[in-house]
Structure formats: C-alpha cells, structure tokens
C-alpha cells in the first residue's frame, strides 16, 4: 500500500506525490525491521526523541491542513460484473509516408489484455475532398494481423480533408466524419533540466530524471491543437529472462521447470537465466502520459518552457529521444482530453465520471446503434531525434538509478550440439531489431 498526499486545485488535482514511508515518517511509528534490530528505545534518546516528535507533528498537521491523507490500495481480486467487446479502430493519417495505418481490433471483454482480437480481411480506404481514393491493405505479417497499410508512397496533404470507410468481412460498413489535416509548426529549442523529486526514495527510479522542455509558437489562427509524442530506443543485450525455468524455443517463451520430487534427493533450485539476443535488438519506450495542448488561452503567443517529457536517470550515457510534435484535429483533441481527465487524473476526490466515448467520428452505416471505439486521427507532425546528455547538470550527490539484472547468464555447457543460448528479438510495439533512425552506436 502506498501513502499518497493529494492537493486539489482548479478543476483537477495539480500535485500528486507518492510519499515513500521514509518521507512520510508514518512507518517510523510502526516497527520497521531495521528499527526492531536497533530496538525501539529511540523515544528515550533525547536527541532522537525530538526527531520523532517532529515526524509525528509533521504527519499530524499534514493530515490536518487541507491535504487529505489518502490511502491507495490495489484491489487484488477485482470482480468484473459485466463483459462486452466492441470494434476498436486506431488510425493514423499523416503528412509523411512513414506513419499511416488503420488498426482494427475487437476490444477485450475482460480487463485482462490478452483477449484483444484482430479484425481481419476488411476493406479499408480513405477518400480525399477531390474524391481520390487510397486503399489500405492488411499486412501479411503475423505480428501485424488486423493492421492495414496504404501504398508505401502514400502521404496526406496539409489542408486536405479525408474520409475513412471500412467494410468488415461480416458485411458491416463504417464511415468516418470528414477530417482536415492541420498545419504543424517546427519544434523549437528543446532543452533538458535535471530534477530530483525529493519525496521519492533514493533507490526509486522515479526520483531522478531529466525534464524535457520545448518552446511553441502558436499561430494567430484560433482553434489549434497540439500533441507531443516521444519514443526512446534502448539497445539491449538480453532478450529473455526466465525465472524458475528455461527458454523453450518451440514455444518462444520461458517454461517453468517443475521442482524435483520432494523425495528425489537434493532439492535443486532453478536459477534465473538471462538469454543474450541472437542479433541487434532495441527496447522501445514511449511516454506514459498523453501530452496535449489547445491554444484556447495562448492563441498567437509563444509558449516557452512547455514540459513535454520526463526521462529517467538510469545511466550516464546519452539517451536516444525521438520527439514528434503533432498538430491534431479538434475531434482528436477533445477525445484525448476526455481520456486525460477521466483516466490520467483519476483517483482523486474530484474525479469526473468515468465514461467511454463511442462513435467519436466513426459511425456504423449498417446499424446506427452499433458502438465503435477509437478515432479517425488525421494529423501532421515534425520530428527531431535527440541524444540527451545525462552526464551534465546533475548535482554531485545525485547518482543514477540503473536497471539491475539479477540471475545468471545462460550459456550452453560444452558438448550438447542442439543447445542454443541466444534467443530471438521478437518484433512488437515495444521491441525491434530494425535499427532506429539516427542511431549512433
């Protein structure tokens, strides 16, 4: 369980800080193992006594003054009361050739992720305002089932208006609202600054990191909407880590080895094995939060120092950072704003009702009652690839919090010719063997 102190402001909470037990001092009042070793005689030591009083007072008034001492507990056996699945349409139609797709799935009727199924063999196309049609064809790759791509040279045009049409294999037809591609300004002056969040424990990776800021010059035109999206690629050595088992190459995953029978002699503990990748492999990380902005309050102004990311301080090497600045449509902004308010900011005393928007800009022609998730997303973007230096501007006392591998490195012992000690790098949304753009070894 984690203790949280929340302060609320305006229409949403503005600060949410996770106080580790050390910071809150709450658990000082309980017996921590280290304190048990030292005994609980601290109260009698005059010097420490004042120290404890200080903590007690700090807890007491922290709770009193406008801050609600709230307590967040994960529910381990959450019972789901109803289950439904809906057609989900994820799209990107941009002004560049590299990112254009329509991905269709049936949402999971469980709150577990592995019940999402791809929607295969659909007919997908977009038509622009001049009636020019571009067909999207389903990928032949097994890992990209239900994802449809246009011809490789296809790209949208800023100012053009597009309509998406989908005909599923079971005869249902869906049509989007017409959406116009907005103009995007250049990314200006990305800067970084080190920040340590002192309320986190020194061993917590959330404590230290670099904030990334940019400037944005909004145009005098009203009603412009922006989104920032970033990706990080990290070259990895190990492709799999198996605990209590070994990698099964047929299944392509770790298999738990049954512990030996209790009377079968020595109890062998199975170590944790790390497997090297069989080639170059990168892990992909994306920003956790949706970062969007409307020009409602800043129309025509220069927005300076807009924070668009926080990257971890898990090493001193330069950090590969691929930033996209997108100009999105009003529909897309409102849709994502709704998600931000309902999900990103949930868990406060002032939550807004949890709702899901269906049929945002895609509707069924065959059955108007049919509910569709997702959005026809038309945007233009600018990108920059940066290597963020992480060895400068850090106070001397702050140390990186590296990711530590535990266990042993698996290697084939001697003579077994069938033994393989390197595992494949599987292509997915968070891993690739394709060298990222602008990568410097």
């Amino acid at each position: 369980m984690k203790k949280e102190i929340l302060i609320y402001f305006g229409t949403k909470y503005i600060m949410s800080q996770n106080f580790s037990p050390v910071d809150m001092g709450l658990n000082r009042l309980k017996m921590l193992p280290s304190q048990q070793e030292r005994g609980w005689g601290r109260g009698f030591n005059k010097q420490n006594w004042t120290y404890d009083i200080k903590y007690i007072l700090s807890i007491y008034f922290t709770a009193i003054i406008g801050l609600m001492t709230s307590c967040i507990t994960p529910i381990s056996d959450f019972p789901q009361i109803t289950s439904r699945s809906f057609l989900t349409i994820e799209t990107a139609l941009t002004d560049q050739t590299e990112v254009n797709y329509v991905k269709m799935t049936y949402s999971s009727s469980s709150i577990k992720i592995n019940f999402i199924r791809p929607v295969k063999k659909a007919k997908v196309y977009v038509v622009d305002e001049k009636g020019v049609r571009e067909n999207f064809i389903e990928s032949s790759l097994a890992t990209q089932e239900g994802t449809y791509f246009p011809s490789p040279n296809f790209k949208g045009k800023i100012g053009s208006t597009y309509t998406l049409t989908i005909e599923t294999a079971d005869g249902k037809k869906y049509v989007s609202q017409a959406e116009t591609m907005p103009t995007v300004p250049e990314i200006q002056e990305p800067t970084t600054q080190f920040e340590a969040k002192t309320n986190y424990d020194v061993t917590d990776v959330s404590r230290v990191g670099f904030n990334v800021y940019i400037n944005l010059q909004d145009s005098p035109k009203k009603g412009e909407y922006y989104k920032w999206y970033w990706k990080h690629y990290e070259k990895i050595a190990f492709c799999h880590t198996c605990t209590n088992g070994k990698f099964n190459f047929k299944l392509g995953s770790c298999v738990v080895i049954d512990p030996p029978a209790p009377n079968g002699g020595d109890i062998e503990t199975v170590p944790t094995y790390n497997y090297y990748c069989d080639g170059q492999c990168w892990n992909i990380t994306t920003g956790l939060d949706i970062n969007i902005l409307a020009d409602t309050y800043i129309n025509g102004e220069l927005v300076s120092g807009k924070k668009i990311a926080r990257i971890p301080y898990d090493g001193k090497n330069p950090y590969y950072f691929r930033l996209e600045q997108r100009a999105i449509t009003k529909t897309a902004f409102e849709y994502q704003q709704g998600i931000v308010e309902q999900l990103q900011n949930s868990g406060t005393l002032f939550d807004v009702p949890a709702e899901t928007r269906f049929n945002t800009n895609i509707k069924s022609l065959t059955n108007p009652e049919d509910k569709v998730l997702g959005i026809f997303n038309v945007y233009s973007f600018k990108k920059q690839i940066l290597y963020i230096k992480r060895d400068k501007g850090v106070p001397i006392q702050e140390k990186p919090v590296p990711i530590i591998y535990t266990g042993e490195i698996f290697s084939c012992s001697g003579f077994d010719p069938t033994c393989i000690d390197r595992t494949p790098c599987e292509e997915s949304s968070n891993r690739t063997k394709i060298k990222p753009e602008g990568w410097v070894d």
Binding site: G66, I75, I113, I298, G374
Partner: protein
Amino acid sequence: MLINPNSMSKKIFLLLVFCITTFFTFAQNITLPKLSGIVTDANTGQPLVGAAISLDFKKSGVITNASGYYEAFLPVGEIIIKVSNVGYKPFRTKVVIRGDYKLDIQLEDVSKTLEEVIVSSEATKKNIQTPSLGVTSLSIKGIKKLPAMMGEVDIIRSLQTLPGVSSVGEGSNGINVRGGAIDQNLIFVDETPIFNPTHLFGLFSVFASDAIRELELYKGGVPSRFGGRTASILDIKMAEPNLEKFKLQGGIGPVSNRLMTEVPIIKEKLAVLVAGRLSYNDFLFKWFGPANLQNTRANFTDLAVKVFYRPDKNNSISLTSYLSNDFYQVDSLFSLENVVAKQTKFDYGHQNFAVHWGHYFSPKVYMDVVGVQSTYNTRTYAPDSVNRIDLKNSIGYKNLKATIDYQPTESHHTNFGISLVRYDIAPGTLNQGIISRVSPIDLAKEQSLEIAAFADDEFKVSKKFTIQYGLRFVQFYNLGPFTTTKYQEGLPLSTAPVIGTETFESGKVVKSYGGFEPRITMKFSTSETSTLKFGYNRMQQFVQLLSNNTTPLPTSRWKISDEYVKPQVSDFVSLGFFKTLKESIWEVSAETYYRKTQNIVEYLSGAKLQLNPTIETQLLQGEGKAYGMELMLTKRRGEFSGWLSYTYSRALQQINGATAAEKISNGDWFPTNYDKPHNVNMMLNIQPTKHHSFSFTFAYQTGRPYSSPVGLFRLADKTYPVYESRNNDRIRDYHRLDFSWTINNPSMKAQRWEGSWTFTVYNLYGRKNPYSVYFKSDKAGLKAYELGVFAAPFVSLTYNFKFL
C-alpha cells in the same frame, strides 16, 4: 391470592436492609461514623420514598423511609455513593468519611430534565403537535456533544448523523438531503445564503459555531416562505446577543482557535455579539513539512457579528454579518490547461450582510422585514513569471423580504409576504488588467430577478386534525445585458452550428419562467401521543452549480437558468408517523417520501465547464427521482440519551436525449454518486455526572456507486477501460465509529471562568473506508485501485472556556 412480585422483592430488600442496619446499629457501639441525609425531588422538594442508596457500587445498600431519610454507618475513608430512584436521574458522588457526615440529595425527574439529544424538544413538539413534516431542529448545544473530527464542531458533519442526510464521502463539499444534489439545498445563516458550506476543500464546515443558536433542516414540508431550491432548506439562526450580561467563550483546538463575546452596550436595549474562528497551524508546514511542502499555506477564518437593538417592546432591529475566507498557496503547476506556473494561490469566501426589522402591530400581528446582500468570490492566481494567471468568479445575492405573521383566532395561524431576489453571477474572468502571455477572458455576466409572493395558514380544524396549506408564486426573469447564442435547430447543442446571436440590453428580459408552488401538510392525531402526517410540496430552482466532479470544487461556477438551461422543478410527497412514549422520553418515527425532479443538470462526456462562453453546449438535462423510508428511535433524556435510525433511500437519474451524445448510460436510469440504499446511524450520549460526558456516533452506509468497466481497449499501445454504463457497481460499505469524552470544569469549583476539555477519536477502529475505485493500466491489463480517506483513527484534544 395474587402476589405482586415487585412488592415481594421490595420486602426481601427491606429485610436485607433491616439486617444491615441492625449490623450497623451494632457496629455503632464501636463508633463507626454515620452517613445520613434526606433525598428529595429537585423540582418539588417532596421527599422521595424508597430511593436506593448504594455504597461503593455494591448491590446492597439502604433505602429512604417515608420522609426521605436514610442513614448508614461506614468505616472511615473514601466512599462512592449512588442514589437512584425510578423515573429520576441517578446521582453519584464521592465523599471522604472522617466523622458523621450529612448528605442531602436532590434527584432530578428525568421527564423534567433538559434534553441531552441534539434534536431539540422543539422537534418533538413539532412532530406531535404541529403538522410540519420532515423538519429537524437541532440545538448547537447538542451538536457540540457529538464527536467532532479534529475537534472542530461541525454542522455539516453533524447533520449527516441524521436519517436522510448523506454525502458522497469524507471531504465532500456539502450534503445530499433525501437524494438531492448539493446545490439543491438552500443554506441560510440569518437569511443570508451560503454557496460553499465548507473550508479546506470539504474538510470542515464554514460557520462560527459559537454564534449559532439553532438550526432547522427542512427535508420536506418546506413552508411557503422558503423557495428557490428543490431539495431542502437549512435555516441556521445566529444567537441574539445577551442584552444584560457580558459573556466570553472560546476554544483552542488542533486546527483552529475560536472566540465569542456578547457585550451589552445599552442595558436591555443594545448589544453586540462577535464570534470568530481562525485556523493557524499552517506555519507548521514551514517548520516540519517535507521540503516540497514548505511553501504550502492553508488558512481559513470565519467571522460573525450580530448587533441587536430593541428600542422598545414592539420593535427590534438586528444587523448580521458573516464573513468567511480560505487561503491556500501551493508550489506546483497550475491546473488551467497546460499553463505553467511555479506557485499557485487560492482565495475564496463569503461576505454576507443582513438587516432585520421586527415589529409587533399587536400581540396578534407581527411583521418581519429583512434586507440581504451576500457575495461569494473565488480567485485562483499564479503571480509569477510571464504566464501570470488570475482567475476569478463570483455569485452575488440580494434579497428584500417582508413577512407578516398573523394569528386571528386560536385555530388559525397565517403567514404571508413578498420576496425579491436578485442574482448576479460573474462566471469567470481571466487576467483582467494583467500583463501575461495567457490571454484575458471575460465571460458575460448573468443576472436574474425572482419575484415571489407567498402565504400559508395553519388551520386547526378539530382537536385531531390540523392542516397547513400554502402557496408560493414565483416569477423568474433572466435579465440583460446578455447575448444569447442561437444554434441550428434539431441538432444537439454540442455539435449544432451557430447561426447567430441575439443581444439583450441592460434590464431587458432574456428569458422568463415561473409558476405556482403549492405546499400542504396535514396532521391527524391518532392519540394524545401519536400522529399521522401527510405532506406535498413543489419547488422550483433557477440557479445551479455546474460541476461534473464527484463533489464540487469551491471554485465551481454557478449558472442562472436561460433559454437553454431550464429551471429545475421538484414535486415531493411524504407520509409520516410519530409517537412519543413515557412522557416524551422516547420517540419513534417513520417517514417515507418520493421526489421527482425535472430538468436536473448533467454533463457531456468530457465536458469543459471552466471559462466556457457557450456553457449550454456542455450541459444535458433530464429527470431525477428519489424515494426512501426513514425509521428513527430517539431517547431524549436521562443518563443515556441518543438515537438509532435506519434509512432506506434511493436517488436515481435519467438523461435520455435525442442523440447518443445526449444520453448517459444509454438513456437508462442510473444511480447518482450519492445513492446509498441502506444507512444506519447511531448516536449515544452518556452523562454520568455534570463533569463528564461520553459520546459515540456510529454510521453505516452501503458503498456508493462507481462505474465499473465492461472490458478494455488499446489505442496507440496504451490500454484504456471501456465503460458502458454509469455507476453500475458499488464500492465497499462504509462504517465508522467516533468517540468523544468531555470533561467540564475539571476544577469542579463554581467560578466565573469555566473550562472544559474534549478528547475525540474520529474513526475509532481505523476502518479504511473507500472513497472511490478507479482503474489504471498495467502490463497485463487493468488494475483496480481503491482510494481511501481518513483511513486511520484521528485523535484530537480541544480546550474550551466560558467566562460569564
């Protein structure tokens, strides 16, 4: 022959006593000191026969004879004496016996003692003698006996110990009365309205408790003199300053300090009462706070002043003012969408003023004229850097009301008058007159006038049947200057294209609504001590608080009804049965009610309410219904007093617009956030002596509803829950026990300065009551989390004093 078991046991007891006295008589020879005295009735002075005197908690003892006399021989030393008699409050004392000791005791008749329960005797009288239904009178003296969270006497929390009153949870910004929303309650302090009844984001109630005399909560059966809200009226009355005697009282608690004084200026004619409350603890942030909270400030104040002038027997004039203020300062990012600021300050409060003139034309005709001006302002500002922010909004209220109370005969009691209310709302200004990169916004102000005439008459038709019938007529005008946006017809406002505007000049009527509000209650006495009642009333509401949050923020904006936002109208019926037992010591009641409200306000998914010039595009209107049954057992007097209540209540809404976007939960009825079917409330006060009193309150409620996902979907590698219907599941049940122990006048000496200590434990068994359940995604899917508030016992100590 019939043997009365009571007289038998009495005889055995007498025999025992005889033996004991014989023993003592014998013992007298070795010169044991004698304890003797007379036990009398405190009111009549009559000797009490058969009162039992027990010594050192032993079952045996002596009883008084026909002249109330008792005697006992005791060894030298300390002894505890308890004197009890049926129908009288027991008396306990401790004496030190050194020689013969004389102790005369007066016992109080329980039926004549003052009540210990916060629901006052006025309420019992009302329940049995008058037709009023669904009205609860509370005395501040009683409220002070309830265990108070962090030692702060709290009206809003105290009200929640009553049946039919609840909230969404700890830290909610108001109360829900019989399934009504927070803004459907009209809260008056001496006729001045309170728009935000809490300090510190819902942690404590506003109001300086020392200045309050009593309060009445109309959960239904609202008299025709009140109007403007659809659910309830909370009428808080400030005490009139004592015209004869100076008085000073106050208290020191962990959160705030209080001081109240009553000063007679011209004896019997003019006096003033000043009561204030000041929170002061925020400097502790600087001293003890973690580094990131050291610049945090959180302060609140209340100030109530009442000047009372009685020039002669027939006239009285009073001036009331109530001021409240909250101030916060937090180091953090500001909430205005994506605007960066280093520190944010936050300021809000009421400035309420009222003038009353009361005049007796004759003993049968009384006139009351009241003029009110009140404003509630909020300001959120971030003064630093180039992105300066200064966001303000306010609501103003002016009222002129004249009421005549006329009692022509024994069987009629009439009340009639007129009222004029003006609202002025500034829904939001941003950065007016400030140089900042954040552009200024000035939303159009809204103003309205409500003209009302009302009359009601209480008519005693017969000894058994009384009817109170009334009528209120209200005409509402939304007034210019205002510009109404016109939308293309036949489309939902959220997507309809704007086809033009219509501008109204100052004072021109933008939109008008109005109608009659019949009010009726009937009483039928089924016996001397029991009544059956029926009530119906209609209420209209022309101003609403816009908030899509679980509980409204103090900065939420108010909205006057206009062309698009229709006024809320509620129809309410209730039926009640009341009975008192044992000379009104016990009371049982059962009430049922049903309310239907039209044009309740809801919001589009992801509605944007702050600084939105076309707010109508974000609102949905629909229907609400609430029904329930409240059962209550009250013991008003005696050593043990208190109540136990059970309430079954539902509060549902339906938003079923023409298009999918204008529906919530597919257009089906869904439970509101405060729909909690089963509620049990218990309050117990134990007062063994004048010096000590113990109170317990217990509350149990069904967990409130929340929206539970039907599955999940993924977009751009992020996982989101799918919600299909609103509030389809419930959080765990809520229950809590509080305790307080008050030690009055610990020195036990009669003196002008009287102190008392109150020790309180809030949430005694430390239940981790949930406030909400929400979902976050992790690698495997969605993970459910429970948010709890005040999940541990909270101890506090308060010192109160009185100087008379």
